[in-house]
């Protein structure tokens, strides 16, 4: 499952990032590391980006990036 498939308000756990080492490096520095918890706070209209809570910080990801973040629901 990727971040785009998650509904607003839900908590998920990061499993990994698809899309090559450069993407991994960029996302790693904003807190997208395996095991970290992420919540979707809101999304912008007209297929706009997602606003996420990543370990207490608010991060904006465009849809093209969000689709590359592989996550699972917290059980």
């Amino acid at each position: 499952m990727n971040l785009l498939e998650v509904n607003n308000g839900n908590w998920v756990r990061v499993l990994g990032v698809a899309g090559g080492i450069e993407m991994e490096r960029r996302l790693a520095q904003l807190g997208f590391l395996p095991g970290n918890k992420v919540r979707i706070i809101r999304s912008a209209p007209f297929h706009g980006p997602l606003l996420l809570d990543v370990e207490g910080r608010e991060i904006v990801l465009g849809r093209g990036v969000a689709i590359k973040v592989i996550v699972e629901y917290l059980s």
């Binding site: 790693a28 520095q29 807190g31 590391l33 395996p34 912008a44 706009g48 980006p49 608010e58 465009g62």
Partner: protein
């Protein structure tokens, strides 16, 4: 002695820098690269210390050109101490960078900034405990109010004097083994940072450093690859992630030990985004805020422009009368008066409210909200929300706009956003739009030019995207918390930018005006005007605008202010029709980025990009102005 200020974006590092540098910072180019950092000299305990403000960076992974400069600086220039600024409210993320910096083997002082914000959020922080756990000094600070700055610098001075090297964090065994395996090869190289740090950066796959080490030790690439394979085999994730996870784990443990979170009350500030980022009301607020901004600038500017213009026109007439001549001297004096009046009556009245307003929007944290709201729209023109930053800065001046494209990771995105942001009417062109069109035709016409400008930029973006398809994945951005800007920072920033106009641009305006007066006197302008005649014929402009347009390449304000000299009056309504004023302004808005912007494009993106963008803007300007003329002919 040299201290380096390092911290994550938006941790208040630049606020700290400006508190000590007083906006007297000089920028310097970095060897080979074009990314600038800011240096200043400060007095600490009687010593003169060189202080370097490096771009904000989350980690030393250097994923874009602005971040690259931080790592390059550290591995090329010896620093005597690092002042690491951390945002108290984002301690876990901040400490990951601290741990990384501690690996470098340089004296380091940790500054915990925004203690007031942490208090507001009910966050309690035990600095003493953190200092003991890390083994480095930890200093609290509220940079916006100047609290704790003196103490932090004094502490850093002591650390640099004693050259106290911190103990780097220890990682899990397999990482330590990998670092150890590289050690003997790295020992053959010379860097002003620790060997351990170099080893870790190689394991993280830093391309520049791999090349640098590889030149001395060709075997290093294979050796690193072997270590990657074995790390990947043992823990099934990439080495970068493994190390980043380790740092984060340590940072989290540290944070848990030294902070206590009290229950916080939600204030209006925490709920502001519910309104400002609302799918419907967010856009209503965006339009309202921009409209308010526009009318604020117009209202303030036109209130001052009319009486000031009157005064200077009278002065001009009085002087010419008193001299009883049309000789060279009278022309030169008249030219000088028109240059002075252009700066004081037409440019400054609009520049002042504009820069204060822009500084306020920048400091409060609204720019990122605009990026969030506009991302999907930006995709339509082949860019993503991050490009909104150069666009909005472009309304102030195109030069910082071009420089700010550094925050974009992708080269194609940088080129496109640079090309499009040069067409954003900067403050100089604002003076033309407001001073000419809003003043003589009306504010609605000026607003129309701004909207038409956005339309043309969008269309150009769309067409370029057709040839340069979008391939970047999109927006990656941190949303800052709202902060109430202090009067001091906003006015200091506005003054910093206005000073640039007063001391650099205004003299050029006055000299340009005088030069044109002399050229007029000897009829040199006739040759230039005749050469540009076909062009003016195409756009239906008076013959005299030719020379001002040429001068406008140096400073965009010149194109309008020299009109006064070219026509011999500042009452433009008497010499130009409404249509001519609008066509002229549209052309000025788009054509050739000014000289400073061209240089800046060359520095950032190379000569080829500079000429391509310059050619593009002339084409776009001609077509856009022609379209306006055609519309006027039809209506």
């Amino acid at each position: 002695m040299r201290f380096a200020l390092i911290g994550q974006p938006n941790c208040g590092k630049s606020t700290l820098f400006n508190q000590v540098a007083g906006y007297r910072a000089e920028t310097g180019n970095f060897a080979g690269t074009t990314v600038t950092f800011t240096e200043t000299k400060v007095r600490v305990l009687g010593d003169v210390v060189e202080l370097v403000d490096l771009p904000g960076t989350y980690t030393l992974l250097a994923t874009n050109p602005a971040e690259r400069v931080v790592l390059d600086y550290l591995i090329e220039k010896p620093v005597d101490a690092i002042i690491n600024v951390v945002d108290a409210t984002h301690l876990v993320q901040g400490l990951t960078l601290t741990l990384e910096l501690m690996e470098l083997g340089r004296p380091i002082v940790l500054v915990i900034n925004m203690m007031d914000e942490a208090k507001r959020q009910g966050l309690k922080l035990d600095g003493e405990a953190l200092s003991q756990l890390l083994g480095i000094p930890v200093m609290p600070m509220i940079a916006t109010r100047g609290q704790g700055i003196r103490e932090a610098f004094a502490q850093t001075w002591h650390m640099a004097r004693k050259s106290t090297i911190p103990t780097p964090p220890a990682y899990r065994d397999e990482i330590e083994q990998a670092i150890l395996a590289l050690k003997s090869e790295i020992d053959k190289t010379e860097f002003p940072v620790s060997r351990r740090a170099i080893g870790i950066k190689l394991l993280e796959g830093d391309p520049t450093l791999t090349d640098q080490v590889g030149r001395k030790v060709p075997a290093i690439k294979n050796l690193v690859q072997t270590q990657w394979d074995s790390l990947c085999h043992q823990s099934s994730v990439q080495a970068v992630w493994l190390i980043a996870s380790e740092r984060q784990k340590l940072a989290r443990e540290l944070t848990e030990k030294v902070t206590t979170q009290e229950k916080m009350r939600l204030t209006l500030r925490d709920r502001l985004d519910d309104y400002l980022l609302h799918p419907f009301w967010g856009y209503v607020f965006l339009l309202a805020i921009l409209a308010l901004f526009f009318y604020g600038v117009y209202g303030f500017g036109s209130w001052l422009e009319a009486p000031l213009l009157n005064f200077f026109n009278n002065l001009d007439a009085t002087v010419l009368n008193a001299l009883h001549s049309n000789g060279l001297l009278a022309q030169v004096i008249s030219g000088a008066i028109q240059g002075i009046s252009g700066g004081l009556a037409i440019v400054l009245p609009y520049l002042l409210p504009f820069l204060i307003g822009l500084g306020f929007l920048e400091d409060i944290g609204y720019l990122t909200r605009i990026a969030f709201l506009m991302d999907s729209l930006m995709h339509r023109i082949g860019l993503h929300g991050k490009a909104i930053v150069p666009f909005i800065l472009g309304y102030g001046c195109n030069v910082p706009a071009i420089m700010s494209t550094r925050i974009m990771e992708d080269k194609r995105d940088r080129f496109l956003s640079a090309a499009l942001s040069t067409m954003i009417p900067c403050a100089a062109r604002l003076a033309v739009i407001f001073g000419l069109v809003a003043f003589y035709v009306g504010p609605w016409a000026a607003l129309g030019i701004y909207l038409y400008n956005i339309f043309v930029i969008a269309l150009t973006g769309k067409i370029i995207t057709h040839f340069l398809p979008e391939d970047s994945p999109g927006l990656i951005l941190e949303m800052p918390v709202y902060r109430l800007p202090t009067l001091k920072t906003v006015t200091a920033k506005a003054w910093f930018r206005i000073r640039e106009f007063i001391f650099e641009a205004w003299p050029v305006l006055i000299i340009g005006s005088i030069v044109l007066a002399v050229m007029n006197f000897y009829s040199v302008t006739d040759y230039i005007n005749t050469a540009l005649q076909p062009f003016n014929w195409l756009l239906g402009l008076p013959k005299q605008v030719g020379t001002p347009l040429v001068f406008g390449i140096f400073r965009k304000e010149l194109s309008m202010i020299m009109l006064a000299q070219a026509f011999g009056t500042t009452n433009y309504a008497a010499v130009m029709t409404t249509q001519q004023m609008i066509v002229f302004t549209v052309f000025v808005v788009f054509y050739i980025p000014c000289f400073a912007t061209m240089i800046s494009i060359r520095n950032e993106l190379g000569s080829k990009a500079m000429w391509a963008i310059t050619g593009l803007t002339v084409l776009v300007a001609t077509l856009a102005a022609l379209l306006v003329r055609v519309v006027f002919l039809i209506v």
